[in-house]
Subunit: 189 residues, 4 copies
């Protein structure tokens, strides 16, 4: 049995939807226990990550980087950093914003710097951009935004209980979750 925690912050449910699809993907792999954890819950009990095999980070991109809520979780992990208690865990990440690029890469770079400070091992998004040539960014294409460091989604603002993330972006999140679970299994068993 391998254990994975998906820790995320979501302001308007877009990143939450993405997180749920990362979980759907990871759950497809046998003998995995996958939990969704909000940053609020994580900050209250940072020790819950000490014994998991993989941690997947999810945050909206606000003003060019992770949200302040997600950053609070990052800062709250400094004792785990000092004790090296996340060393050699598998890490990955996903992010959402309102436009195609929108400096989302800086959020993924920030996740990676964070994971490397924790001596974790980084797994990215392995699918090539699946958009048809005549229709770049097609809503139902896998990795339509063309991101390798982690999974990206682009959403417009709908009502709070809805998400506008495209079917392709959500499928991309699933594939990331599945990939992380498979690699964790190979590495940890």
């Amino acid at each position: 049995m391998i254990t994975i925690k998906i820790i995320y912050h979501s302001g308007y449910n877009h990143t939450k939807k993405q997180a749920e699809h990362v979980k759907i993907g990871a759950d497809k792999v046998d003998n995995t226990k996958v939990d969704l954890v909000t940053t609020e819950e994580a900050i209250k009990d940072i020790d819950q990550f000490a014994n998991v095999d993989a941690i997947i980070f999810g945050s909206p991109t606000y003003m060019g980087s992770v949200s302040a809520d997600f950053k609070q979780f990052m800062d709250a992990s400094s004792s785990a950093w000092f004790n090296r208690s996340w060393k050699d865990k598998i890490a990955a990440g996903f992010t959402n914003s309102g436009s195609m690029s929108g400096e989302k890469m800086n959020t993924l770079n920030t996740f990676i710097a964070f994971a490397m400070q924790h001596a974790m091992i980084w797994v990215g998004q392995a699918e090539l951009d699946g958009s048809p040539k005549e229709e770049p960014g097609k809503p139902d294409a896998i990795n339509r935004i063309g991101s390798a460091l982690g999974a990206m989604a682009q959403s417009i603002q709908l009502s709070p209980d809805q998400t506008s993330a495209s079917s392709g972006d959500l499928k991309t999140a699933e594939i990331l979750g599945q990939r992380v679970a498979n690699i964790t299994k190979k590495f940890k068993s």
Copy 2:
């Protein structure tokens, strides 16, 4: 009179087309002299940049960063770096690749690190993503990719003498050129 050089490398004419549109935009500003320079020409005569007011960098994004040809130009500028001869010049950048994100932001970050080592002043792309909400990444929308550090374009591969860059991406390049010329004028006169 202010002088601007646009230094670019282009493998399949996409970045060249973008460079030409940056020039179209800069030429719209009165009393500017704007030259297009290929990396090949630039490397032969790196001193040609010593007396210009602004330098705009353009490169395709290959394998996650500037092309090797563009990097040769960067490395060839080390004497100018040592002599601080580009200090306080205005700098900006643009890049093209086959997908929406495609780690193009790392190319712009690399331009910025380079410009800062030369003690230049960085001007980005100031337009918000102009895509209609119901159609993110719309081909004719200004800054449809949603990049702030510089101008991004996404092109598919057509025949060598054609470019597939969208009308929005080319218009975005023009606006960047115009902005750089205006700011250079304000700063240098």
Copy 3:
């Protein structure tokens, strides 16, 4: 008269000390009004930045990026972003952490992505590493850490009312402040 605000967060007074030296440098330039503002004060009144000529960002690097407190300020500026009210202002930044590199560059990259989203103009740290060859990182050398994107400092933890930042790092902060004031003056008058 040009106006500059230095907005900073400081956990253990190291970044505060750095901020004070940025102000010392900016104050050396005639006809400048320079204010220090904490993130706490800034968040309460984000409109205070609307009419200044330059904004200088300062944050410790915690877990590979800006502190959560500084990120709260960044997120609180989203209305100014939407209204483009910081457009064409001069921007610069500085950061401190416990080791030489310590991923401080990601903090500066995050400042730059933020400034570019606000359509600001970025000014970096223009001095070459002044360390003697036989003693790299010498405490009293200008830009001893060798950063171009902004000013870096390295501090160890002393008592709360003391700072361990080296004399070279504080002098580097001063030079950044002076450079920003000079460039702002040239650009805004």
Copy 4:
């Protein structure tokens, strides 16, 4: 038996020395075959990487990023990228420059973007900065520069056949090599 290739470019032997120490570290792990490959050799035969278990990248940082020679190798790998032939290989990196920070982090970020485009798995430098508090950046301290994304070294220019890399930087390179070999073994066997 696991196989590791260390692919590097070195202008003045500093990065070469670092590469040799990465190999020393990897060789300490049983049942590993570790080869040093220059970028020149690699470009002539890019297929040599298809069957190895791990690839470690090494480049000097020139003008804020990898050297043009190293970038040529990166660009030459585009067919391997298209065929996904490096997928799931372990990746890591190291870089050298003349100052402590010197934007070396952008070189490591560029390695990571490259590795992620190839769907590789990234392993960083896991040791905390071992400098004594009273002497940050001490030449014989492990990870004295404080880098987590990969191994950094700082060297001054001596005669071509000598290297000035500190004993701590070379030991840091060894530890990276050993870590990559151990993780590759765990993952690939």
